[in-house]
């Protein structure tokens, strides 16, 4: 069952909700503002009763898979359980109702939370300071690169290139480009790790930084990380850590100790702030001493026992978003860290690695493993052989898993593995769930070998079957080039004045 759009459910008979009256006399905008500043007709918002709204969105919710109902082994995304206490914490009036421009003496608790969270993150990743301003991982990447550029600039260096491994997440090159750098790709070796030789050949005085995640997106720890760091630093470049994979080793080792100069963290991965169907997250960035002057302003500082927002940071790259970041997400992450403690976080990472290796072992008879284990918190398998021999692709396996109540792993990423299937089970899944998933994979692979056509037709048990994205793209293109008036990217009333018009 699909659900109609709110616009399609809209009924002109629905009165607007009861709202407070003005209680004061005086003209309305339309009576005093110049006519040409006024809206000519009301916006085309739908008209539904609260009861209808609740039902509409409840039904839509039931069309989603989510970590609360489904195993969600989406590689690189760290879909672990989000403790509900986090939500209760963020909803406390003492946080949710704070205006960002309240005077500092009225928000000492909020600043204290930010301060303590910064301290905790410093301890976890091994850096000197952390900015909490970035709203997501990509935002953190760009913030960090901006700091690195500003730092190098301050030393009179004009470094123009950023090195990015071929296995890197798409945000890495995109962030580098947005920061005005040329992107130079570094190749992976046959063992799935960065090729030191290739790295050496690409490093130059133009190199500003190497962006790396470790374990890399293949789930493999870069064993030669210390050599890599030395190599990069020896050319005067900096080392940037994409913290999307931090869940692999909290309490086991630290990016700061590996030699990384700047580190972003995805609070919405490692620190259980919920993904929200695509955000909001938070992407704090930690830096070593030499980058500290360049942190975005304001920072939180303790002065004479009071916490204060320090805006006077002459070398700062400025501001990367309004106010102080996604504060509500910071509250959730802080709550999680407090509850877990150092012991709990270490255990979480170990369990994450254990889960991944266990699941990898269970499915290695069914899916190709392009690289040797052990893996860290995730692993990448390949459906290349299945494609070659049976015409079954990674996508088919993903869709077949959906039909078995499992969300699909990440597919076709990283790009260095053909028909990649990237599986991150996380520490919060039970052995029973991992076993069930492995069994589903086995069943699907068996079906791939015996009845490949059947798989192409899956999913069959979901509200819709496979959606034709190619046709959709064609229709969008028609609209964009003016050959059609249906934008596809939004609902449009069938025609002016038709009964469906919500106003």
């Amino acid at each position: 069952m699909t659900e109609p759009l709110s616009f399609e459910l809209s009924r002109p008979a629905v009165d607007p909700p009861r709202l407070p009256d003005a209680e004061v006399a005086g003209p309305a905008p339309k009576d005093v503002l110049p006519a040409d500043t006024l809206r000519s007709r009301p916006p085309g918002l739908p008209r539904l009763s609260e009861a209808e709204i609740m039902r509409h969105y409840s039904r839509m919710a039931s069309l989603n898979y989510s970590i609360s109902e489904n195993f969600y082994p989406l590689g690189s995304c760290t879909m672990k359980y989000n403790p509900v206490v986090n939500e209760a914490a963020a909803a406390l009036a003492g946080f949710a109702c704070l205006h960002p421009y309240q005077d500092e003496d009225t928000v000492q608790g909020a600043l204290e939370l930010m301060w303590r969270l910064e301290q905790a993150l410093c301890a976890i990743v091994g850096v000197d300071r952390v900015t909490l301003q970035p709203a997501a991982g990509a935002h953190g990447e760009w913030t960090a690169l901006s700091m690195i550029r500003a730092y190098q600039h301050s030393r009179g260096e004009a470094r123009t290139e950023v090195l990015v491994p071929d296995s890197a997440h798409g945000t890495n090159p995109a962030s580098a480009a947005l920061s005005g750098f040329q992107v130079v790709e570094v190749l992976s070796g046959p063992d799935g790790r960065i090729s030191l030789a290739d790295l050496e050949s690409k490093l130059s005085p133009r190199t500003s930084a190497l962006m790396l995640t470790n374990p890399n997106t293949l789930g493999l720890f870069e064993r030669e990380i210390l050599d890599i760091a030395e190599l990069v630093h020896s050319t005067g470049a900096m080392l940037y850590y994409d913290g999307a994979n931090l869940n692999a080793f909290m309490g086991i080792c630290r990016p700061g100790d590996m030699g990384f100069d700047a580190v972003h963290m995805n609070l919405h991965k490692t620190f259980t702030t919920p993904h929200g169907g695509g955000g909001p997250g938070a992407g704090p960035v930690g830096v070593k001493e030499e980058l500290v002057p360049f942190l975005p302003a304001p920072t939180v500082e303790r002065m004479n026992g009071q916490l204060t927002l320090d805006y006077r940071r002459p070398h700062s790259i400025g501001r990367v978003r309004s106010f102080y970041g996604n504060f509500g997400m910071l509250v959730r992450a802080y709550t999680y860290i407090l509850a877990m403690g150092g012991d709990g976080l270490s255990q979480a990472s170990q369990d994450a690695v254990l889960s991944a290796n266990y699941l990898r072992k269970l499915v290695e008879g069914d899916l190709e493993m392009p690289h040797d284990g052990p893996c860290m918190h995730e692993f990448v398998a390949s459906a290349h052989g299945l494609l070659t021999h049976h015409g079954v692709r990674a996508l088919d396996i993903a869709k077949a898993l959906l039909d078995r109540q499992f969300y699909a792993p990440t597919v076709y990423f990283p790009l260095v593995v053909p028909e990649a299937i990237m599986v991150e089970p996380t520490e919060t899944e039970s052995k029973a769930t991992l076993d069930a998933f492995a069994k589903a994979v086995k069943d699907i692979v068996t079906e791939a070998k015996t009845n490949p056509q059947g798989l192409h037709d899956e999913p069959k048990h979901l509200p819709v079957g496979r959606l034709d994205e190619v046709a959709a793209a064609r229709r969008i293109n028609s609209y964009l080039v003016g050959q059609s008036e249906d934008p596809i990217l939004r609902w449009k009333a069938p025609s002016e004045g038709a009964p469906k018009d919500p106003c």
Binding site: P29, C97, G180, A282, F323, G465
Partner: protein, 420 residues
């Protein structure tokens, strides 16, 4: 499980990590029970001062508004808030449809063709719009006209830095100008000549970018009506708590010809083999996961759940509810302005300019008065001198539907008493 894997201990799984990097333990205290955790977090919350809605007259980009309970009832559904970005469309129709509805709602409000799935906030929305203009025109300068939110401008500058985009304050657009950016109503709450600025931009071959207050659009001509090419803004007022500044939601809408330059996610309709309509991520070829360094933006995780809140809010209000909210806020703010300017020594800072529900006032002895207001539980006006040297002594007051008449009376009577 170790046995199944075929190893003896956890350490066998961590062999790739150089021994020299291995930690003994984290320098953090041990974990706590949920009860103790919440007790401590609550102790921090209790160290903040919460001003009641009705006595909050401070805005400056974040406003107290009535948030219908149904908004929280929807966004607190785990099926929404614990899902990821909807990569697998068939198992994510709820999220996808919600985004599609949000896109439509924003496009309708702005009177433009297409809106995206959300951005981080109003500030980054301005910066992303500038980037679109830069790519679209191939020009390197953007003009910020008038009083645009100072933090938005700071973010714009930081964004522009890497790409070599210069940010100019005011001035006439010329053929180096990629975009003219204005806020309407502006940071002081005043209406600007949106039509004139748009025309001037177009005359110079530049893109007109309007940064708008979404609730104002129930009343004011939408950017699409006066010809702006891109509309951006902050959606906090659409059902989101102030939350010390975030998470809120940025929105961006544009004309058809700019759609391919839009940053971030876009959802469109598609059909399955049985002809059933569904929703998918569309035009992904603009995005980082496909186009990498050539992407229109680096944004990946955006602010989906906040967009959902905004969608529920706008659906609750409907066209006439939203206008009612804007009208009530307008009337109350104008009443307050009339009463303030009657106080001895007080005056409107720009008496000749129109405003909706936020307005600048010249107020004597600002900081002493602010302290006294705070003591009475009132979150007083916002000091503009903090950002603009020329506006020393000017503050902005905000009124919305949450500031009832008794609250306005309380405020004015207190101020009158202080003045006498």
């Amino acid at each position: 499980m170790l046995e199944t894997i075929g190893v003896e201990s956890m350490d066998d799984l961590l062999v790739d990590i150089p021994q020299s990097l291995r930690l003994e333990s984290l320098q953090l205290p041990d974990g706590l029970s949920e009860f103790e955790t919440m007790t401590r977090v609550k102790a921090l919350a209790d160290r903040n001062r919460v001003f009641p809605d009705r006595l909050t007259f401070r805005g400056g980009g974040v406003y107290r508004r009535f948030i219908p309970a149904v908004v929280g009832a929807v966004t607190s559904k785990p099926e929404f808030y614990t899902a990821y970005t909807p990569y697998q469309a068939e198992a994510s129709q709820g999220t996808l449809q919600a985004i599609f509805e949000f896109q439509t709602l924003i496009a309708e409000l702005c009177g433009l063709d297409v809106a995206n799935a959300s951005l981080y906030d109003g500030a980054t929305a301005v910066a992303e719009a500038a980037m679109m203009a830069h790519v679209h025109t191939g020009r390197n300068e953007v003009i910020v006209s008038g009083y645009v939110h100072p933090e938005y401008v700071q973010v714009l500058r930081a964004f522009g830095e890497g790409r070599g985009i210069k940010v100019r304050k005011d001035g006439e657009p010329n053929k180096k100008t990629a975009a003219v950016i204005f806020q309407h109503p502006d940071f002081l709450g005043l209406l600007v000549d949106a039509r004139g600025l748009t025309t001037a931009a177009h005359d110079a071959g530049a893109v007109a970018i309007a940064c708008v207050d979404p609730i104002s659009l129930a009343v004011l001509a939408p950017p699409g009506e006066y010809g702006a090419d891109i509309a951006v803004g902050e959606g906090q007022q659409l059902g989101l708590a102030p939350s010390f500044g975030g998470p809120h939601v940025g929105f961006i809408a544009c004309k058809r010809e700019l759609v391919r330059k839009l940053p971030g996610r876009l959802v469109g309709t598609a059909h399955d083999a049985q002809g059933r309509r569904g929703f998918v991520l569309a035009l992904a070829a603009r995005e980082q996961h496909i186009r990498r360094e050539k992407a229109t933006s680096n944004i990946c995780t955006n602010h989906s759940l906040c967009a959902l809140a905004a969608a529920v809010y706008l659906t609750y209000m409907g066209p006439y509810g939203l206008r009612h909210v804007a009208d009530v806020s307008f009337k109350r703010a104008h009443t307050l302005a009339d009463r303030l300017k009657a106080l001895p020594g007080w005056e409107l800072a720009f008496p000749e300019r129109q405003f909706l529900n936020e307005f600048p006032v010249r107020m004597p002895r600002a900081s002493a008065i602010q302290r006294k207001l705070a003591r009475k539980g009132i979150l007083g006006p916002l000091d503009m001198g903090r950002w603009f040297r020329e506006l020393k002594g000017v503050v902005t007051f905000t009124c919305t539907e949450v500031n009832d008449v008794r609250a306005i009376d309380e405020l004015v009577e207190l101020l009158a008493a202080l003045e006498s």
